[in-house]
Amino acid sequence: MGGRSWLTAVLAAGLAAGALGGCSPDETRVTVVAGTTLVDGKLLERVAADYEAQRPDVRLSVVGAPTARALALAEAGSADVTVTHDPSLEERFISEGRAELAVEVFSSRFILAGPRRGSASLGGVSAVEAFKRIAEQGHLFVSRADGSGTHQVEKEIWDRAGLDPTSREWYVETRQGMGLTLQVASQREAFVLVELSVFLTAEETTGLVDAALDPVGLDNSYRAMAVKGSPVTDESLAFVEWLGSQRGREAVRRANLELYGVQIFEP
């Protein structure tokens, strides 16, 4: 192969790579910022792929972020759609008129995971009661402490228990995502509040068990919102509507089955 044809081949390969990686001009890109759990667990990726198959003119870019930050990104105009799980923050967002459309799309639930021995005595008690006992015994508890939906739920439980664990030596704050927080809990043999799908995915490596609390107050409902003022409002609205529709729900069920074998994120 001569020098020139070699160069041509390289250029052609470069252009081909560019075309694959980039976005063709007739597609509309919609940025979806979703809770890290949904993204890390690949649920939203599956659902998005389903949607893209039906709407080839739309490309969904799925980005993971803790709820508080996802909403902040939306405020800053960096997100077209949010899928989050902190009702109070979401309601504020809506009341400020920032959402074009808000739909509750599915819900999973939180569980308290912990070392086998400590967890046995907590079976069936309420979350508030379990947290009280953990505090009494001074058992290690690992918190994400990152403003995520999971962290919000955890804080609410401590509030209801009338306790403030921050700065207690048995209370470890990672200020990071669920994955790392779960690892720390596993390695320190500590309790941790964790979303069910994440727990199931990592169950083998962590060695932690579900303390099997009374599920009341531990549900985790996700809300999808089309952000007002987005340059692709039509496409965002269509996606959020679809998520709440019969077809969207079916897509979520399918994704659940493929990923977990059971319905974790129930539409």
């Binding site: 930050r69 470890v172 704050e173 990672t174 990071q176 390695q187 490596t205 060695g207």
Partner: protein, 230 residues
């Protein structure tokens, strides 16, 4: 430009009201880096001297290991140690994962080959005449190594600076084995990663500035001690 100025202004503000939380991160950074550099140099200098002077079985393999070690990807070192120290792993019983001790161990793994490689290179770089004289002195192994290391003092200073530079700037290994836990295993580099990820760019730049100052001060100080500035 406006964006960058804004970040810079934020960074200055973060630094001006930096509280104990930042200083704790700085202190842990210094402690972990200093400990791992110290241990790394203590192990690396004799290893480097042995590689440069010794004739023993397995020297070729060891030399290769040091070469590989000098360029070993930190995050891979972190991963391997994570597996070793994982609670159900081979050394899980020690309970070291996500502790500063694990971070020091990871960084010793990174620093030792650097120190050994630099010292070995500078001893071999002493040249033919001193090496011939050294052989002529008929010293024991240890004494021979000590004379050579003393002669290559500037190389030892470089080894300290290079090891410290590698560990203080390193993020992959400490992130994986340390976990970047607030108040426990968070160091400047992992803080920068976290702040960048959360788009708190001002705080990230502030931490970066502190890191830069530390790296600079240590390098200059070590250069002075070694007697040879850059």
């Amino acid at each position: 430009m406006e964006f960058l100025w804004g970040v810079l202004a934020d960074a200055v503000e973060v630094l001006s009201r930096a509280g104990p939380e930042l200083w704790m991160v700085v202190a842990l950074t210094l402690a972990v880096s200093a400990a791992s550099t110290g241990i790394g140099v203590l192990l690396g200098v004799p290893l480097g001297a042995a590689l440069a002077l010794g004739r023993f079985r397995g020297r070729g393999v060891l030399r290769l290991a040091v070469s590989v070690g000098m360029g070993f990807p930190p995050v891979l070192a972190g991963l391997l140690l994570l597996l070793v120290f994982w609670r159900s792993g081979p050394l899980g019983g020690l309970g070291l994962i996500f502790t500063p001790t694990a971070m020091v161990i990871a960084q010793v793994v990174l620093a030792t080959p650097v120190a050994a490689g630099v010292v070995s290179g500078s001893i071999r770089g002493l040249g033919m005449v001193p090496m011939e004289q050294l052989a002529a002195l008929r010293l024991g192994r240890v004494a021979r190594g000590m004379v050579a290391v003393r002669e290559a003092r500037a190389g030892v200073a470089t080894a300290v600076a290079a090891s410290f530079g590698r560990v203080v700037a390193e993020v992959g290994a400490v992130l994986v084995v340390g976990g970047n836990i607030v108040g426990e295993t968070r160091v400047l580099t992992t803080l920068i990663v976290e702040e960048s990820r959360q788009a708190r760019f001002g705080a990230a730049v502030a931490a970066g500035a502190v890191l830069l100052v530390i790296a600079l001060v240590v390098n200059v100080a070590v250069g002075r001690l070694g007697g040879d500035g850059p």
